[in-house]
């Protein structure tokens, strides 16, 4: 395992009190809600960013907001770091613990509390999975829009922590644009309610600040989210191209022409092969690049939009166009796309990048990405949200080979720097986590970061909340 990203030095005072802490926590939680034996802790040592691992001190699985508050109050009193965890699907290591930390897992808080269709809002506990919200209101013709590819498993609490996006965010926005309120437990156990079912709230936009704060400002235990009426119809269409450059140029022209489909997803040849192997969705295998373009609305609207898109695609040498013919086919097309990362496991270990670049830079960055990865003697598969320039190069490597792993990490860092230099950013939807923490100074100045850390300290003055993440360990304010 490459040791290039350091965890915060564990507090010896906390480690020394381990047994006492476990005993105290057991008093605060119902039976079966505390894990403290070494065996049981190991499975919590990482999330979906498996390159880094650290077994925590204990794992608390509270069932109520009051229990979350009690655990936080206790931890803050003794300066014990806390790492919140939803479903542990973070690709940036957002839920990776540290040796002196208590993990607070929200997986037992998975009830939908209120569905209010007249106000198009739902109140759910933080451990409810993203897809469960849409499923709960689907029979009534509604859905919850942000759809990270891990939506089957990831929780709304985790989505809020990372301000998650997804394929359909091109039209509907990301989590922060679809979040109306949260119940938040602060570091000292104080419980506050931010926002509600109204479209805006008084005072500073603390809700906007909390969304995407990676569990460093507090722990969300409930969320009020916006529901949207499902469009009359939706149709994904596959466009195959003889080169990635042409596909990229097609995306830029579609957006530039004023057409905004619900989603434009890009896959290169290796990614197509990976996804097809799992989903058997009927992706064309003889093309170099594939776009999944989804249009929605009435039949007339879909037809009109498609006609324009097909015309543009024609100018960029499209070689295959295939419209989904049924709901089942459409579902398969999306299943393949959304399983892309996991399906990569069939052929190799991977790390997944998440930089976003301006659309005009897409073709250039794609090309350079290929060169960078090849330069390290590795392979890459590209599958990403092209419409908003959010790239996901998957760098394939062998995690059992430390040198390979180090090369993959170095290649990833080069790609992220490339994204920033192209006018973009380190992360579009996965979060900084631990993965991109040490690159933050490539995007921000120390003064910028100081300001962010100062605001962070307004919420968590002693840095106990997920402290190893987001901000480089050096340059932090003295505790």
């Amino acid at each position: 395992m490459p040791e290039t990203i350091a965890f915060q030095e564990p507090k010896r005072s906390v480690l020394a009190r381990r047994d006492a802490i476990v005993e105290d926590l057991a008093d605060l939680l119902p039976p079966g809600c505390l894990i403290s034996e070494k065996r049981g802790l190991v499975p919590f040592e990482t999330d979906a960013f498996i390159a880094y691992r650290q077994v925590p001190l204990a794992v608390a699985l509270p069932e109520t907001t009051a229990q979350v508050a009690a655990v936080l109050k206790y931890c803050s009193r003794y300066g014990i770091p806390v790492v919140p965890r939803g479903a542990g699907t973070s690709l940036s290591g957002g839920a990776i613990p540290q040796a002196d930390a208590v993990v607070i897992g929200l997986s037992k808080m998975s009830r939908i509390l209120d569905i209010d269709l007249a106000n198009r809002a739902a109140i759910v506990q933080a451990g409810v999975t993203n897809i469960n919200i849409s499923e709960a209101v689907s029979a009534n013709g509604f859905f919850y829009a942000p759809d990270p590819s891990s939506q089957l498993a990831c929780t709304i609490g985790g989505n809020i922590g990372m301000n998650s996006g997804g394929a359909h965010c091109l039209k509907y926005g990301v989590t922060t644009n679809n979040l109306l309120g949260v119940k938040l437990v602060l570091f000292d156990g104080t419980v506050i309610d931010l926002g509600g079912k109204a479209l805006d709230a008084a005072g500073y936009d603390l809700l906007g600040l909390v969304c995407g704060s990676e569990g460093q400002l507090g722990i969300v235990t409930e969320a009020t989210v916006r529901l949207i009426a499902r469009p009359e119809g939706a149709r994904p269409v596959l466009f195959g191209f003889p080169s990635s450059e042409e596909a990229g140029a097609c995306v830029a022209e579609v957006i530039g022409s004023g057409i905004i489909p619900v989603a434009i997803e890009f896959m290169d040849k290796p990614a197509i092969a990976i996804c097809e192997a799992f989903a058997q969705a009927g992706y064309p295998m003889d093309v170099e690049a594939l776009l999944i373009v989804e249009v929605e609305g009435s039949e007339a609207e879909m037809e009109a939009m498609l006609a324009s898109i097909i015309e543009i695609a024609g100018r960029h040498g499209v070689s295959t166009i295939r419209e989904s013919q049924s709901a089942t086919e459409a579902a398969l097309i999306w299943k393949g796309r959304k399983s892309a990362f996991g399906a990569t496991g069939r052929i190799a270990d991977y790390i997944c990048m998440d930089g976003t670049v301006p659309l005009s830079q897409l073709s250039h960055v794609l090309k350079r990405t290929g060169e960078i990865v090849a330069g390290y003697g590795l392979r890459v598969a590209n599958v990403f949200h092209a419409g908003d320039g959010n790239m996901h190069p998957l760098i394939l490597y062998n995690i059992n080979d430390p040198e390979d792993a180090a090369r993959a990490e170095a290649a990833g860092n080069d790609i992220l720097r490339l994204c920033v230099d192209a006018g973009g950013c380190l992360t579009g939807e996965h979060g900084v986590g631990i993965e991109k923490r040490d690159l933050m100074l490539h995007q921000f100045s120390q003064i910028d970061l100081n300001q962010q850390m100062a605001v962070r300290a307004a919420f968590d003055p002693h840095w106990i909340m997920n402290p190893s993440k987001v901000f480089p360990l050096e340059g932090r304010p003295a505790a």
Binding site: M162, L199, D200, G297, A300, P358, N390, L426, K436, Q451
Partner: protein, 400 residues
Amino acid sequence: MSSPFEPETEAEIADIVRAAAEAGTALAIMGGATRSGFGNRVAAQQPLTTRNLSGITSYNPAEMTMSAKAGTPMAEIEAALLENRQMLAFEPIDHRGIMGTSGEPTIGGVFAANVSGPRRLTAGAARDHLLGIRFVNGMGEVIRSGGRVMKNVTGLDLVKLLCGSHGTLGILTEVTFKVLPLPPASATVVVFGFDDAQAAGAMAHALALPVEVSGAAHLTESVRYRFIGSSHPEGAATVLRLEGLAASVSVRAEKLRSAFSAVAPVALLDRKATETLWRDIRDVKPYADGTQKPLWRVSVTPTMGHQLVAALRLAAGVDAFYDWQGGLVWLRMEADAEGDMLRRYIKGLGGGHATLIRASDAVRAATPAFEPEAPGIASLSARIKEKLDPKGIFNPGKMG
């Protein structure tokens, strides 16, 4: 009041702020001052305007983003967008009418006050379109947050924090925001004669249909003539806007019309009438009346709006109409502001907040403009303010 600072560069602003922080001089921050009546009275003698910090710094229509210095006039931005058939989807309000101000609203002012119009219901607020900012904090440091791409979760989202902070946390110097294509067609379905409660139900129904309503307002009987004149059937008008491709708008309009035509008279407004109507709703035209009658902007759960108004009507002279499916209530009080009663009723109905947008100086002095925050949140807000503006020199008192 001293003569205002009118810096022309970000560096100048930083210098001024550093000096002010050192001297403990409080600054009244403004753009075009068309909204400077917002909030509580600012305890500062020294104005600072960003209006000379002006100009679009980058605009790439194909990427749907624009960057502009904070003092850029809205008129300049809107003209540039129109040339490329694009728009600010959140429809920022022009407050000059209701505030009785003149001058040029600026893009910095729009984001500092998080000003959003009717399309906020479906397209999001100003804060949802703001991608990146540069600002000067209370120590005179220049801070960047966000960026110029659509998706960006790198670091703490100070963009959201600054948006709507009314110049109390920092001085915006440059903003980068999302722009969207202008819909090629639009229409409005008008349903006549619903009372407020029926209208709330009708708007909820319309938004549950797969027709993508992009604006839902209820123009009560007392104000509807200011919006759509008298050539239509009588009574209040519930208006539902549709936008998109021409073929699609007409199909959806027909669907929407048939959803209501059995129970009430329905009319259809064409594109031109639609544009005028929604601009007037956006700018709260009926209450742009040249008076100082207290004007409230109330944000509540959409189905609660009409209950609140019904309760108020029993106790005070009040005129009202609704936007955002009933969740945004524009309330004009005939005499007293009745802030305590209003806020008590809002609380009783399950929450929301009321902002006093306009009132006489005497009323403003006696009524907190913004909803008082719950204690836990208020202390958090104070700590945040302290982290950005430790000397308390930016718009002191404005937000309470």
